[in-house]
Symmetry: C2
Subunit: 164 residues, 2 copies
C-alpha cells in the first residue's frame, strides 16, 4: 500500500477567522493546489481514496484533488485534525489494508502533524526533521502486514515549487 | 547550508566489469541524468560545489550536472564511495561551512549509502527507510553551527520520474 501525505494549500492568515477551523484556501492556494493536482495526474497517480482533515482549508484541498480526477471519494477523518492521534490512523489503515492491499490513498492534513506522522511511520519517533510546504506531497510505502510504525519507507517528498 | 544528495544514473549491470568501480553510465542513464539536470536548473538550482564519489558511474553523473551549468567545480571525495564513513564528510562539512555558510552543495554517490547518510543527518541512526532511485535527488538543510548529525531537516526527496 502507498500512502501520500498532502498538506493543505495556502489559506487565509491565522487570526482572520474567529473559528480557525473555518479558514478557507485563498485564491493563490486554490490555484497552486490545482497545478499540483495536474502534475500528480500527469505522473500517472490516482488515489483509491482521499482521507481529509475536516478543517475547511484541508477539505477544500481534497476537493481540488478530487475535481482533478485524482480520486472519486473524499472521506473526512477526524484524526487528521491538528494534534490528531496517529494510533487512530494506524487502526483504520490496518483494517482498510485487508480489503485493499494494493491501494494508493492520500491523507490531506496539516503541519507539523503530517511531518510527525511520516517520522512515526519511518522511524517510530518524532524529531521534527521533516519540513512540509503548503500543497507539498510525501509518499510512503507501507508494509503489507503489520503496523506501519517504524516500518514504512519514504520514496517521495516534494514541495509544490518542484511540481508546478 | 543546503546539501543535495544525488544518486548516480543508470549504469552498466553489476558483474559486467571486472572492476566494479569502472562501471560507466549507460546511454539511458546519461539521458535521464541530463533531463534531471535540466529540471534542477529550471527550478533555479545552482551548486557551489559538486563532491563526487570517485567511482566512474558517480563521477560521470557529476560531469553531466556540471555540463548543464549546475556547478563549476567537481571534486572527488573518497568517503562517498560505497561504505564510506559519514564522519569524514562531517569533518569536511564543518570546515567548509565556516567559509561558506550559505553554500548549496551536491554529493553524488551510491545507495544505500546516500539514504543512510540522510538518515544519520536527520535522525542520527540508520534504519534503511529511505529509498533513493538512480538519478534521484534529496535536499537537506544543515544547521549553521555544530554537527549536522540528527539536526538537519529534509525538504526534498524526489525520484527522476517526477523530474523529467
Amino acid at each position: 500500500m502507498e500512502v501520500y501525505l498532502i498538506r493543505h494549500g495556502i489559506a487565509a492568515e491565522k487570526g482572520t477567522y474567529a473559528d480557525d477551523e473555518q479558514r478557507p484556501l485563498i485564491k493563490k492556494g486554490q490555484d497552486k493546489t490545482a497545478q499540483v493536482a495536474q502534475r500528480l495526474l500527469s505522473v500517472g497517480l490516482k488515489f483509491d481514496l482521499l482521507l481529509s482533515s475536516p478543517l475547511v482549508r484541508a477539505y477544500q484541498t481534497a476537493e481540488i484533488l478530487q475535481q482533478a480526477s485524482l480520486a472519486k471519494t473524499i472521506e473526512t477523518f477526524a484524526p487528521l485534525k491538528p494534534d490528531g492521534a496517529i494510533a487512530e490512523w494506524v487502526k483504520w489503515q490496518q483494517q482498510y489494508q485487508v480489503q485493499h492491499p494494493d491501494a494508493k490513498i492520500a491523507l490531506v492534513g496539516h503541519q507539523p502533524d503530517l511531518g510527525n506522522w511520516a517520522e512515526m511511520m519511518l522511524w517510530g519517533a518524532i524529531q521534527g526533521q521533516i519540513e512540509v510546504k503548503k500543497a507539498g506531497v510525501m509518499g510512503l510505502k507501507i508494509p503489507p502486514i503489520g503496523t506501519p510504525i517504524a516500518r514504512s519507507t519514504l520514496f517521495l517528498h516534494v514541495p509544490p515549487k518542484w511540481l508546478i
